[in-house]
Subunit: 254 residues, 2 copies
């Protein structure tokens, strides 16, 4: 009945007459919503015909704009204003960070492997989400136990003793171990305290250390995240993908 | 202001007089919603005062009931009817399958490790979701590449050649390899075709093989799941946790 209704002449005419609404997305990394709001206020009188909504999630600020085709110029002015004010943090004019990373890996024909402790498989699961993941992701080791970090990812026992399992050096060793063991072009390493237990005054819940190591260099990032166990784990996953993006494509630092 | 308002005598009286609504959940595994509906219709006249909703998700049928305290007896009759009709598939009178598995492992002081291909880290990520995961989950290897299956989880090359990477024998070898490599009490193995690519006439998209191996025995399960890549991966994760539940607690087969 539904296909028949769609094919009926009155319905087809009504659909053809309906406004073709465009939707475009810009994505900024680590930009306060208030700064974006100031920019939008400044150029507000040039944005007639645009319906702009913004959403901040896990450090990503998403600007979704809906408009009819005749507001195309106004959208161009919005993009110009955002690009001018946020050149350092604008990382996408559409694709998600996960898509950007997948495309960048495929373009170079590179593979990736993960050594993760705190996130317990979440980073590998996220990298294997997009279709075609098997050509770019060789795998990952979720090494909660220190013995697994040593035996499966070659983290030196001394490194675990010196700074503890939650340290920048262990994140780096996890990335290098994953890269070597899987024979991948890029290695990702993650360690931290997801909570609710396990925190100490020196390493409170939310402490995370990440590293990515590629053929031409390495990047590291440390932070103290807020939120409950699920939030800390999820945000660490987002940080890992952004650190990969920075290694592969440059742009705003994780 | 809010605490002060709550402490004020008129508000306290109003709150005390408010109805205390109870909410209870029953969970069935692999039970068609239509069969449950037939049971509910049969005993409908004994369920006065109960507000019953049912939800089917990934093979789990959830029965959520809200009622005032004076309908306690009616709820008892509902539980009796469901237990009588679905003794073989009722697996919980409240906790999620993830909670049941975590508690069962903790009660025995057992640890678990995962070797997963198709789910790419998702099963390990799910097992490490609950707080306190580090005492029961030693880790997991997400082995997309066959070389990783061989080198990190000791899957015999001949097993990969004989039945291909997606086979019951490889699921079993992944479980045994994870168990041995991490030194865990229980090993979980998962392989399959999540799609959209990679399917063949013999092994179409959705084909999954799972195995769990414990100190006292092993269980295996194979299925062909419907849905897109994300659905197949998610449902495989649910199957893995149910297979663990069956090994640890008995009850309805995965």
């Amino acid at each position: 009945m539904w296909p028949a209704a769609l094919a009926a002449e009155p319905v087809r005419r009504a659909l053809a007459g309906a406004t073709e609404l465009r939707q475009r997305t810009l994505r900024l990394w680590r930009t306060p919503e208030s700064e974006l709001a100031a920019t939008l206020r400044r150029v507000d009188d040039q944005l007639t015909g645009l319906e702009v909504t913004t959403c901040l999630r896990d450090g990503e600020l998403e600007i979704v704009t809906r408009y009819e085709p005749d507001a195309d110029d106004a959208y161009g002015r919005l993009v110009a204003a955002v690009t001018a004010d946020f050149a350092g943090t604008l990382f996408s004019d559409g694709p998600t960070v996960d898509e950007l990373v997948a495309w960048a890996l495929d373009e170079r024909g590179w593979t990736v492997a993960v050594g993760e402790s705190e996130t317990g498989g979440l980073v590998t699961a996220r990298l294997t989400e997009p279709a075609g993941a098997s050509r770019r992701v060789l795998g990952g080791v979720a090494a909660y136990a220190n013995s697994a970090k040593e035996q499966l990812l070659d983290v030196p026992p001394a490194t675990l003793v010196d700074g503890g399992a939650v340290s920048p050096a262990v994140a780096r060793a996890l990335a290098e171990g994953a890269r070597a063991r899987f024979g991948a072009d890029v290695g990702v390493g993650v360690t931290g305290v997801a909570g609710p237990g396990g925190g100490t005054p020196e390493k409170p819940v939310g402490t995370v250390h990440l590293a990515v190591v590629g053929p031409d260099g390495a990047l590291a990032y440390s932070d103290r995240l807020r939120g409950d166990r699920a939030a800390v784990r999820g945000r660490t996953g987002t940080l890992a993908v952004h650190l990969l993006r920075q290694l592969l494509l440059g742009g705003p630092p994780a």
